[in-house]
């Protein structure tokens, strides 16, 4: 055969930056961060290391308060194990608790699409009430807007929250220390896969449910048991993204142990089938904690006895400072790096 010309390969014009918002900007990966850094932070905020924590900390007359906001646009609205209402309350309660605050009150803003059924709305609100009661917080204020058909995907909810940080509690993504033991409160990837199972086309049958839950009581017990340096709830972008962010905020090297990561069989199976990495799948009722080495045992014990911490496990440690990196020791004894995803995870055929 004629010798093929392997010189002079050509490639398309690079797609560097988009000038419009794409779905990937919402997935919590590097695209999301890019959006934040290019558009929002320069105008609206200071990019202090703490800016990447789950809540902001504001000091008024010597008392520290945590403040946070979140918008919930999940589809479908009702998924196995939960719904957008429970998600909204728990998400914000957890964001407050992740900086060591005791959540006090939330606000709720609703954007309703014209034509939304009252019945559906009632279910969502009842779910929010139950979640608020479980967390021990109250809804202080609210707002409702209605948009024309097509202006929203049935229902969007925004929640803001406020909490009080007790004296002596210093929890932040920037506080990781060498030797810290990394503990997750339970199985990873449940929420993302549960929601996916209900999607058209990509869906599948499973008894797996979302893990959506308020974690403030669990965190309270943990803080009383030992010295906690970092807390994060690994939502969009999953555990991997949270760990990469923390490694950057604290400038530390983290080593994860693949063998000790707890997964439900359904999550593993779904990820194998779609070609997903479960480390990047969202969780809504889990936390990852960096605990002072000498307190790790006690904290783990307390977690396992608490609600929502029964399957807690040690998954890694901070092995160095001065360089931000997350490395994973694979189950067969190899090593690989863990980085952030650029955007959405896509099912692959390859």
């Amino acid at each position: 055969m004629d010798d093929l010309d392997f010189e002079g390969y050509t490639c398309p014009v690079p797609i560097r930056r988009t000038d419009t918002v794409i779905l990937g900007h919402g997935s919590g990966g590097t695209l999301s961060r890019d959006l934040l850094n290019r558009l929002f932070l320069p105008e609206l905020g200071k990019a202090a290391p703490r800016a990447l924590d789950d809540s902001a900390v504001v000091t008024i007359d010597g008392q520290r308060y945590a403040l946070t906001t979140d918008s919930h646009v999940v589809s479908p609205l009702f998924f196995p194990g939960g719904d957008i209402g429970r998600l909204a309350i728990c998400g914000t309660v957890n964001d407050l608790a992740m900086v060591g605050a005791q959540p006090v009150a939330l606000t709720c803003g609703f954007v309703l699409e014209e034509g939304l059924s009252f019945d559906l709305l009632q279910h969502v609100v009842a779910s929010m009430k139950a979640a608020a009661q479980e967390a021990g917080i109250f809804i202080a204020a609210g707002d409702t807007k209605v948009v024309q058909k097509g202006g929203a995907d049935q229902l969007f909810i925004n929640t803001s929250g406020m909490g009080k940080i007790p004296e002596g509690v210093n929890i932040s993504g920037a506080n990781a220390k060498e030797g810290d033991v990394i503990i997750v409160s339970g199985t990873i990837g449940d929420h993302g896969i549960a929601v996916l199972s209900a999607r058209e086309g990509l869906g599948f049958e499973t008894t797996l449910e979302s893990d959506v839950a308020p974690l403030n009581h669990l965190i309270q017990a943990m803080i009383e048991a030992g010295e906690i340096h970092v807390l994060r709830d690994p939502t969009r972008g999953g555990l991997a993204t949270s760990l990469v962010e923390i490694s950057e905020q604290s400038n530390v090297t983290i080593e994860l142990n693949e063998q000790s990561l707890p997964f439900k069989p359904a999550v593993k199976a779904a990820c194998e089938m779609l070609g997903f990495d479960p480390l990047y799948v969202a969780n809504e009722g889990k936390l990852v904690a960096f605990v002072k080495e000498s307190d790790a045992h006690k904290v783990l014990d307390v977690m396992k006895k608490a609600k929502y911490g029964e399957d807690a496990a040690v998954v890694g440690r901070v092995i160095g400072t001065g360089k931000s990196q997350v490395r994973l020791k694979t189950a067969i004894g190899g090593t690989r790096l863990v980085d952030m995803l650029p955007g959405e995870m896509l099912p692959r055929i390859c």
Binding site: S197, F204, E205, T206, L208, K264, P265, A266, V267, K268, A269, A270, E272, M273, G275, R348, I349, C350
Partner: protein, 81 residues
């Protein structure tokens, strides 16, 4: 080009004149087309790629492969280092 994973055939039925199956992957179940493995039976394992069974897993061969390697492992244990 090859994301194919093994799943257990739990149920077989017809849909749109195609032989289909409910395949169990151990915690999740999804529909797959058996048009290319018409001899498949409930309880067998099939290799599923983009919703199609492209081959049936050969249990004997699978065991044989693992056995051969286990022999290598055992041999290593016997040799003093």
């Amino acid at each position: 080009m090859c994301l194919g994973i093994p799943g257990k055939i739990a149920e077989i039925y017809e849909k749109d004149s195609l032989k289909m199956a409910k395949v169990d992957f151990g915690g999740i179940a999804k529909e797959a087309c058996l048009a290319y493995t018409p001899e498949a039976e409930v309880g067998q394992y099939a290799l599923i790629h983009v919703g199609f069974a492209i081959s049936l897993m050969d249990e004997e061969e699978a065991q044989e492969t693992l056995k051969l390697i286990q022999e290598m492992v055992d041999l290593e244990d016997e040799i003093p280092r």
